[in-house]
Point group: C2
Chain length 319, copies 2
C-alpha cells in the first residue's frame, strides 16, 4: 500500500515516462506545457487510491489515471478559450501563450490521446472503460454548455447550479474513482459506491472551490475571479434568494456593471446573508456522503485509510 | 448489392434514425445544423461500398459509416474556426452562425460521439476499429498542424505538401474504406489493400479539389478561395518551382498582398507554367493507384463494379 505522496510520485514518474511525442512538435508542445503547469493530480491519485482498495497492481491503474489527467487538461484548455481566461495556475493559459488555434487543435489531440491510452487495455475492459469515458465526457460538455447558458440568464435555481457542477466537474472525479475499481476487477456494486464517492467528493470540492475563489485562496488565482466574471455561483444564488429587495437590486446591479470596488461590495453582500457559511456547510454535507459511500465498499478499513484521509484533505485543500 | 444512390439513401435513413439528442439542446444543435448542410457523404458511402465487396450485412457497417461522417463534420467545424472561414457548402459556418464557443464545444461533443458510436461494436472489433480511428484522428490533427505551419513558410516542397494532405484529408477516406472491410470480417491483407485504395483516392480527390478551387468549381465555394487565403497548394509550389525569376517574384508579391485582381493574376501565372495540367495528371496517377489497390482485393469483379465506378466518378466530381 502506497500513501498519497507515493501515489503522486508514482503517477508523475509514469506520466514523464509517456511524453507527448510525434512527427509534428507544434501539436504536442501546448499540451506538454499545460500538463507541466502541475496541478494537484487529484483525479489520477483517486484512481490509484481506489485501485489499492482491492489490489496492489498499480501498473494496471496507471494508464486509466493518465488518460483521466490528459482528458482533464484537454477540458481546461478548451474551457480557458471559452472563458477567455488569461491565467491558469498563475501562468498564461495555452491560448494566451500560443494562440486560439493552437489551443483548439492541441486540445483536440489530447482528447483523442485520452482514447488512445484507454484503448490499450484488454478488449473487454477497454470497452467498459471507454463507455464510462464517453458518458463522462459527454456530461462534461453538457455541464460546460449549461454553464454558458447561465451567463445570459438572471435567475438560476440552486438545483440547476448543482446539476451544472455535477456534470461539468464532479463526474470526472467519479469516473476517475470508478476506473480505479474497474482496473482492480471490483464488483459492479463496489464500482457504483466508488462512483458515488467520487461524485460527492467532486461536488464538495467544487463548492469549496467557489468558496475559496470568493473568500480566500492559496491556489494563485486572483481573489473574486468568479465575481469579476459574473459567475452565478451558489453564493450569488443563495444571496439573491435571501436578500431584501434593496440588496437584491444592489447585487444584480453590481453584476451588471464593472465598477472598481465590485468585488468587495459583492463579498459584503454574500457575507451579510451568510452565503459563505451555507456553502461550506453544503460542501461538508457532500463530503459526508462521499465518506458514507466509501464506508459501504467491501474492503478492510485499513485499506480505506488513504481514501478517507484524501476526503478529509480535500475540504481543507491541503492537497 | 446496392448501388451508390441506394447506399446513400440507406445511410441517410440510418443517420436520421440516430439524431443528436440529449438534455442540453444548445450543445447538439450546431452539430445537427452542420450535418444537415449535406455534403457528398463520400466517406460513409465508401465504408458501405467496401463492406459489400465481402458481405451484404450493411447493418454491421452503418455505425462505422456514421462515426466517420460525424468525425469528418467535427473536423470541419474546428478547421473552419481555425481558418476563419465564413461559409461551408454555401451556408454560414457554425462559428459564424452561432459563435466560436459553440463551434468549439459542439465539435468536442461530436468527437466524443464518434467514439460512442464505434464503441457499440463487439469488444474485439470495437478495439480494432477504435485503434484505427485513433491513429487516423491523430494524423488528421498532425495534418492540420502541418497546414498551419505552412502559413508562415515561403517555400514548401512538393513532398511536404503531399504529406500534409495525406494526413489532413486522405487518411480519413482510407480509414472509412478499411472500416467497411473490418465490419465485413475481411482478411488483414484485403484490409490493407482497401486502406491504400482509400488513401490514394483521398489524395486524388484533394488534388482535384485544389484544382477546382482555382480553375472551376460547382461546389458553391467562391473561385480562388485558396489563393485569397494564400494557401500554398501544389499549384503554387509547382509554379514557384518552374517560374523564371521575374514571375517567381510576381507570384510571391501577389501572395503577400491583397490587391483586387489577385486571383486572376495568380491564375494566369499558374496557367503559364502548366501547373493546373500537372495537378490533374498527378490526381489521375493517384486515382490509378487506388484502382490498382482495389484490383488486388480478393473479391469478384462484379462485386468491385460499384467501387470502380465510385473511383471514376470521384475525379469527375459527379458525386
Amino acid at each position: 500500500m502506497l500513501y498519497v505522496e507515493q501515489l503522486l510520485t508514482l503517477f508523475e514518474a509514469y506520466r514523464k515516462d509517456h511524453p507527448f511525442r510525434g512527427p509534428v512538435p507544434e501539436l504536442y508542445e501546448p499540451a506538454r506545457y499545460l500538463m507541466e503547469l502541475g496541478g494537484k493530480r487529484l483525479r489520477p491519485v483517486f484512481t490509484l487510491a481506489v485501485h489499492q482498495l482491492f489490489r496492489n497492481q498499480l501498473n494496471e491503474a496507471l494508464p486509466a489515471a493518465l488518460a483521466i489527467e490528459v482528458f482533464h487538461n484537454f477540458s481546461l484548455m478548451h474551457d480557458d478559450i471559452m472563458d477567455q481566461s488569461p491565467l491558469r495556475r498563475g501562468k498564461p493559459t495555452v491560448h494566451s501563450k500560443y494562440n486560439i488555434n493552437a489551443a483548439i487543435l492541441s486540445g483536440d489531440w489530447m482528447l483523442i490521446h485520452t482514447y488512445e491510452i484507454l484503448n490499450q487495455y484488454k478488449s473487454k475492459l477497454a470497452q467498459s472503460i471507454i463507455r464510462l469515458m464517453n458518458e463522462t465526457a459527454i456530461k462534461i460538455c453538457e455541464g460546460q454548455q449549461r454553464d454558458i447558458n447561465f451567463e445570459t440568464r438572471t435567475t438560476i435555481k440552486k438545483e440547476e447550479y448543482l446539476d451544472m457542477i455535477r456534470d461539468k466537474t464532479a463526474v470526472l472525479l467519479a469516473a476517475a474513482a470508478r476506473m480505479g475499481a474497474m482496473t482492480a476487477g471490483a464488483s459492479e456494486e463496489d464500482q457504483k459506491h466508488l462512483y458515488h464517492m467520487g461524485l460527492n467528493a467532486g461536488l464538495a470540492f467544487q463548492l469549496m472551490d467557489d468558496y475559496l475563489d470568493a473568500f480566500g485562496d492559496q491556489t494563485g488565482k486572483m481573489n473574486g475571479g468568479d465575481i469579476l466574471q459574473n459567475k452565478k455561483t451558489l453564493l450569488f444564488i443563495k444571496t439573491l434568494e435571501k436578500a431584501n429587495d434593496e440588496d437584491r437590486k444592489a447585487l444584480l446591479d453590481l453584476y451588471e456593471g464593472r465598477e472598481e470596488d465590485k468585488v468587495p461590495k459583492v463579498l459584503e453582500l454574500f457575507t451579510r446573508y451568510g452565503a459563505g457559511d451555507k456553502l461550506k456547510a453544503l460542501s461538508q454535507e457532500y463530503n459526508q456522503k462521499a465518506s458514507d459511500a466509501l464506508a459501504a465498499v467491501e474492503a478492510s478499513s485499513s485499506r480505506k485509510e488513504i481514501l478517507n484521509s484524501l476526503l478529509t484533505e480535500l475540504l481543507k485543500r491541503n492537497i
